[in-house]
Symmetry: C2
Subunit: 424 residues, 2 copies
């Protein structure tokens, strides 16, 4: 499961590019050579377009134009995000043959920063699921054990980074879709604060919760990409001394996952967050908003959906409006509680996913049904719109575990500083 970029950081790649030891064209060649079709990380590979972009970037660097730390870096883009001239497949037969006219805003920013778009990574159908095993082009597979799920919905992006095919990938995260596959595949994944990265050109799932995020081997590389996406070149200084960290409880966690996380933050006090209430709010709002997006497709061509997606949409259709309204009220109340907690702590720490990656097709796990378990610790931070980072936290039974770190908007640099202190 090692690929061309396994063990490489963006810093190291940048040094080689600038010393002449590597070129963008060469990095692209390494990426293309590492793509293992059996893992199904990519729905589309754009060898030709990427090569043209790499050539231009090599010429620029030779001429002294340096776009910064993403210059010449091969990147995968989740297949719900438009890249001009490439298919946006959404993992669905509904978009068979659909080609994007233009770049999504986040892709424009990546290109401006010098990234080379290698191709489109496999997404759970319409990003509407956390397992990554439901797509017209098949499941993305966990590099640690290809019989297991990658997690989703940004499964292909996580697999591509975890297997060393690319050093960086874009994902989207509505309830955990960047962080969950990052955790299950053993890479880092960052969901910025709500609206920090523009969602123009990204197919919507639930507009109140949709975020664009990044996946890379390390938290530091996520930060580098995040800065490019938000056009924030510099850090906000982190206060010296200890950061105030709390360990968050609120839903059941498998013992071996809890142990792995506790090892990384052994001394933090424990606080309770009502993750169950946040999950109920999440479900009512996401389902109503998702069905609004899909109503006409369900009416006209239900047979084009994967069965599990159609079933999910049929349930979403029946969420009553008053439940949506009540969820919005409840969300405001829970946001006040979270704000209070974040006045007392810089960082909240909890597992990203309370289990390790189940087998593809497995419906139940030790904590109950798989899908709600996958989302149970991540969707809260979409409801609250807070920056949330998943970093590798070792393994349990040979499978990766993720530690999730959450902070207040504007304090992202404390989050990244803490991540580097505990998992350098």
């Amino acid at each position: 499961m090692t690929g061309s970029f396994t063990g490489w950081t963006l810093d190291a790649l940048g040094r080689d590019l600038r010393s002449g030891a590597a070129t963008a064209t060469g990095l692209l060649g390494r990426a293309l050579a590492s793509i293992d079709p059996s893992l199904n990380a990519f729905a589309t590979v754009d060898a030709e377009g990427a090569a043209a972009a790499a050539r231009v970037l090599d010429e620029e660097l030779a001429a002294g134009r340096d776009r910064g730390p993403l210059h010449g870096v091969p990147v995968g883009v989740k297949d719900v995000i438009d890249v001009a001239g490439l298919p946006t497949g959404m993992g669905s037969a509904h978009f068979d043959g659909h080609v994007a006219d233009g770049d999504a805003a986040c892709v424009t920013r990546l290109r401006e920063a010098g990234a080379v778009i290698v191709g489109k990574t496999t997404t759970h159908e319409f990003a509407y699921g956390a397992s990554g095993d439901t797509a017209v082009n098949g499941p993305s597979r966990n590099p640690h054990d290809p019989s297991r799920i990658s997690g989703g919905s940004s499964g292909g992006s996580a697999v591509a980074v975890a297997a060393g095919m690319v050093p960086l990938a874009l994902g989207t995260d509505t309830g955990g879709s960047v962080r969950i596959p990052a955790a299950l595949c053993g890479v880092a994944g960052f969901k910025p604060a709500y609206d920090a990265v523009p969602t123009g050109g990204v197919f919507p799932l639930s507009v109140s919760f949709d975020h664009v995020g990044v996946l890379a081997a390390t938290a530091a590389d996520c930060r580098t990409a995040y800065r490019a996406l938000t056009r924030r070149p510099h850090d906000v200084p982190v206060p010296p001394g200890d950061l105030r960290v709390a360990r968050i409880e609120g839903v059941p966690v498998a013992d071996e996952v809890a142990d792995a996380v506790r090892r990384l933050v052994p001394d933090a006090p424990t606080e309770h967050v009502d993750l169950r209430a946040l999950r109920r709010v999440f479900a009512a709002i996401q389902d109503s908003e998702a069905y609004d997006v899909h109503a006409e497709r369900v009416a006209v061509a239900p047979e084009l959906y994967q069965r599990v997606t159609l079933d999910r949409l049929r349930r979403a259709e029946r969420v009553p409006g008053w439940r949506y309204v009540r969820a919005c009220r409840e969300r405001a109340r829970l946001a006040e509680e979270a704000a209070e907690l974040l006045r007392r702590y810089d960082v909240l720490a909890l597992p990203t996913v309370p289990i390790t990656a189940p087998e593809i097709g497995q419906g139940e796990c030790e904590l109950g049904p798989v899908q709600p378990a996958l989302l149970s610790m991540t969707c809260a931070w979409n409801v609250l719109g807070l920056p949330a980072l998943s970093v590798p936290a070792g393994t349990a039974g040979g499978l990766p575990v993720g530690l999730q770190l959450v902070t207040a908007a504007g304090r992202e640099d404390r989050l990244f500083a803490f991540a580097e202190r505990i998992a350098p």
Copy 2:
């Protein structure tokens, strides 16, 4: 149908008070003497509390403390608005015996401006209906023909002003509940811009659309009360010359109502507004929000509702969440269209209600079912949150007709200036 205040403006009452020709105590006596129980305008009369307040205000005026144009003026308050120490009955058996602890914010402002709260006016049950014929204390009756509806939901307030019992009353308006009874009873009613008057202490119907408004004999008196409620003592100057006025079409109107309105704005160009689309948006959002307010009451004690209210809530319960979401999106689109129209015009003119007052219990009118017809020209301006005024526009078949004038927030003074020009 003439009462103590028929033909009196607030200006005239204020002159008498300040000349010594009248006292607050005397005005209160005239109000109490005019209350005709057969019209069912009041659910509660607070003779004692009002007398105490009037005495204090008389002493103040004698001592040189003048609170302004509402000093000593008897006012009715709709029975969904809290007045400390008085029942807030909501027109419902659910609130039998419920007494408010404190004053609603709008009542506080009225008291600060010197108003004397005479009592609580009959409301359509929970303000959830435009006819004014559904309440545990019975229908409020149209003073022009007591067999006909007052309109609602602020029916008692409209009846109290129309029959000269009080010169001013507070109402609430979620889809037309101030303007509809004002039009059907032949008085003026003003719904300010969304959030211009605080709704604290007012029982919610649909929080996105709930407004506090005022009813009085004339637009000028509505403006006086509006200034007190918003603590805006002065006019924004109205530009000299002609105001730009458009006549709005969009839903069917009975011929005699259309004629009465056309007489008042004969030369205005006609513009189309998609009142049907706005009505659909209104229904999806109002019903979802209303059921959120009532869910527990429906579950625990459905038998305490009037039958028609319970039926309406049962239908509201079934509005899907995705319809609510879609309505919110549609609302944003329609608001842009309206903003464009209001860049070209100062005032939009249309009938307030496309029919005159039907008989109590009448389910159908010449335009179809009564309830949607009543709301068909008013609820649009709640969806859009725009200031909207209904002024008397003569009669058709002996029954009052209302002209509705709409403007952009911040241009209320143009609205009132135009109202005075056409109906002095």
